[in-house]
């Protein structure tokens, strides 16, 4: 099973929900931190890292000896990542989407591909919990290939919990596409609601069943609850504002360990998700 924890707005509690849910379940669980720009789950789980892998994406290299400056590569590239100026071919790796078009179109076979490092994946363990995350190289713009690399570690026989990045564009879609369930985390404020609407739209485009966790559920107003009802989005859990939770979070501690009564609540959350998925089948 694969559950993606997403939100639209940042800072609503995705990482809190993902890490505590994973730890409450204990074994047969893997957490995949796909917020590769700013991965945080390791700060709460402190896993022992066993394997590190560098992740690359392909960018063109031009053999200037073979090149006849026909400009076909520059013409096919829709991302302005390769251009011919006089008798020099310039490439802009940061703009390259690795589509391979320039290499394919070159009549002189002057283009090959090299690997550009976009980040690393780190794999490890915390007690019985399997851990994997990606860390985007600072200065790198393309996160989706790294998110895909993190997702390639998913283990079908286990419960896989993805911590997704904020937003609604390509990185989030890459972290949600094809999962079994999208667990949305929001706060009951105008910003929370506005960004939740966008996230729900994205989830619907992808056709994934979803449910809602309302974090800091007593700080705002009722508009998120009204919206959830209107949209038939089940509210699966509410976490009231509690200074002890906020402080535990600030120190990198898990709620289920600092306040053990939460362990049962996160287990219940999982059972509710299971129930929804069973019903849907």
């Amino acid at each position: 099973m694969m559950i993606s924890v997403a939100s639209g707005k940042g800072g609503t509690g995705k990482t809190t929900v993902a890490t505590n849910l994973a730890c409450a379940l204990g074994s047969e669980v893997q957490i995949l931190d796909c917020d590769v720009e700013e991965p945080n789950t390791h700060l709460f789980l402190n896993p022992v890292i066993e394997k590190m892998r560098t992740v690359y994406t392909k960018t063109p290299i031009v053999d200037q000896e073979r090149c006849n400056y026909c400009k076909k590569c520059a013409e096919i590239c829709r991302f302005n990542a390769i251009t011919v100026v006089g008798e020099t071919v310039l490439t802009f790796p940061a703009l390259c989407h690795s589509c391979g078009g320039c290499m394919e179109v070159c009549p002189e076979n002057a283009i090959t591909e090299s690997n550009r490092e976009i980040g690393v994946t780190e794999q490890g363990q915390r007690n019985k919990l399997d851990f994997i995350h990606g860390r985007l190289r600072i200065g790198e713009a393309m996160s989706p290939p790294l998110i895909k690399a993190v997702r390639s570690f998913h283990q079908p026989e286990k419960v896989n919990i993805i911590d997704a990045p904020p937003g609604t564009s390509c990185p989030v879609i890459t972290a949600m596409k094809g999962v079994d369930f999208a667990l949305m985390v929001t706060e009951p404020t105008p910003f929370g609601l506005h960004d939740l609407r966008l996230a729900v739209e994205a989830v619907r485009v992808l056709g994934i069943p979803s449910g809602l966790v309302i974090n800091r559920s007593d700080v705002g107003d009722d508009s998120v609850r009204e919206y959830a009802e209107q949209e038939n989005l089940p509210i699966l859990m509410e976490i009231p504002f509690d200074r002890r939770i906020a402080e535990a979070y600030s120190k990198g501690k898990l709620v289920v360990e600092e306040m053990p009564e939460w362990k049962g609540k996160f287990k219940t959350l999982f059972h509710k998700i299971e129930k929804i998925l069973k019903k849907g089948r």
Binding site: G10, E37, N40, H97, V105, A141, P166, S169, P190
Partner: protein, 299 residues
């Protein structure tokens, strides 16, 4: 023209609420919302839209089934697994590279331009606002960010506004890079939590790589005094200007629910005092003013 961009690395540290608060203190400024993925500034600014334009971010392949001979060349060439074995293009996976279009032997693939969002020039009670909305699940957020910033500059110049205040996106990837390049200076809104500190350090490293001056302020500083001290020590060690710290106060949320800035909602609150001090530190900071004499000489 000076542009101040508010970023944080981590989401939800208070970028937008602070941007709005700065807007109510600043004189002669223009606002820009560069968080095109999940833009929220308009919820506080309640803008009147004066101009609405489509954002055409790219193209998408569409296979014309009546002309397709199912030769499989497009399937082999597509690196994004966007073409199914029954020759349908998945619009979400298609990145618009056009390789299938160019190599189709029967020219059976159309490549229509796609409207990926819209952008707006608006009027608010604090001044003009340039903002956008990226379509759901769309690509090219970086390009839309660049567009919104360029249009902000044009508007600010036309209206003789001396400063742009830009609300940036979270993270360190493509939209953030597009938000900060060529900015005068950045304000990083840090949160005294282990994740807040971790994410702040990464985004500051990014800014350093682009040689853009950074200043730091802390929001909700009393949530964890230890982490607050760690951030202050970090700024001292890296010689990054420390602007001040804001206490935790539900006034931010209450003001947001009213669609107001904190200065409109409760001008006497401790957070307003803290934000005023931070703003004074920003506008007098050398980071913001190192171009001032150049502007003077060109006039």
């Amino acid at each position: 023209m000076r542009e101040l961009v508010i970023i944080s690395g981590k989401g939800g540290t208070g970028k937008t609420s602070l941007t709005a608060a700065f807007a109510s203190l600043a004189e002669n400024m223009l606002l820009c919302d560069a968080d095109v993925d999940a833009a929220d500034l308009h919820l506080l600014m309640k803008p009147t839209v004066r101009q609405r334009s489509d954002f055409q971010g790219g193209h998408q392949a569409v296979i014309n089934r009546s002309q397709c001979c199912e030769c499989g060349i497009c399937l082999d060439l597509c690196r994004f697994d966007a073409i199914s074995t029954d020759y349908e293009v998945d619009g979400i996976s298609c990145e618009g590279c056009g390789v299938c279009v160019d190599f189709c032997p029967l020219k059976a693939i159309d490549f229509p331009i796609k409207t990926c969002g819209e952008w707006f020039i608006s009027e608010t009670r604090f001044g003009p606002l340039v903002h956008a909305r990226l379509g759901i699940a769309e690509e090219n957020s970086g390009r839309l960010v660049s567009l919104v910033r360029q249009e902000s500059k044009k508007r600010a110049e036309a209206l003789n506004r001396g400063m742009i205040i830009t609300d940036g996106p979270p993270g360190i990837g493509c939209p953030v890079i597009a938000s900060i390049t060529d900015a005068t200076a950045l304000v990083v809104v840090a949160e005294p939590t282990v994740s807040g500190v971790h994410d702040m350090e990464r985004v500051i490293q990014l800014a350093a790589g682009f040689r853009i001056p950074v200043m730091i302020c802390i929001n909700k500083y009393d949530l964890n005094p230890e982490q607050t001290l760690a951030i202050e020590a970090f700024s001292k060690e890296k010689e990054i200007r420390f602007l001040g710290k804001i206490p935790y106060n539900p006034v931010f949320t209450k003001a947001m629910i009213q669609g107001e800035t904190i200065f409109e909602y409760d001008p006497d609150s401790d957070v307003c005092q803290a934000v005023t001090e931070i703003w004074d530190n920003i506008i007098t900071a050398p980071e913001m003013n190192y171009l001032a004499h150049l502007e003077f000489s060109f006039n």
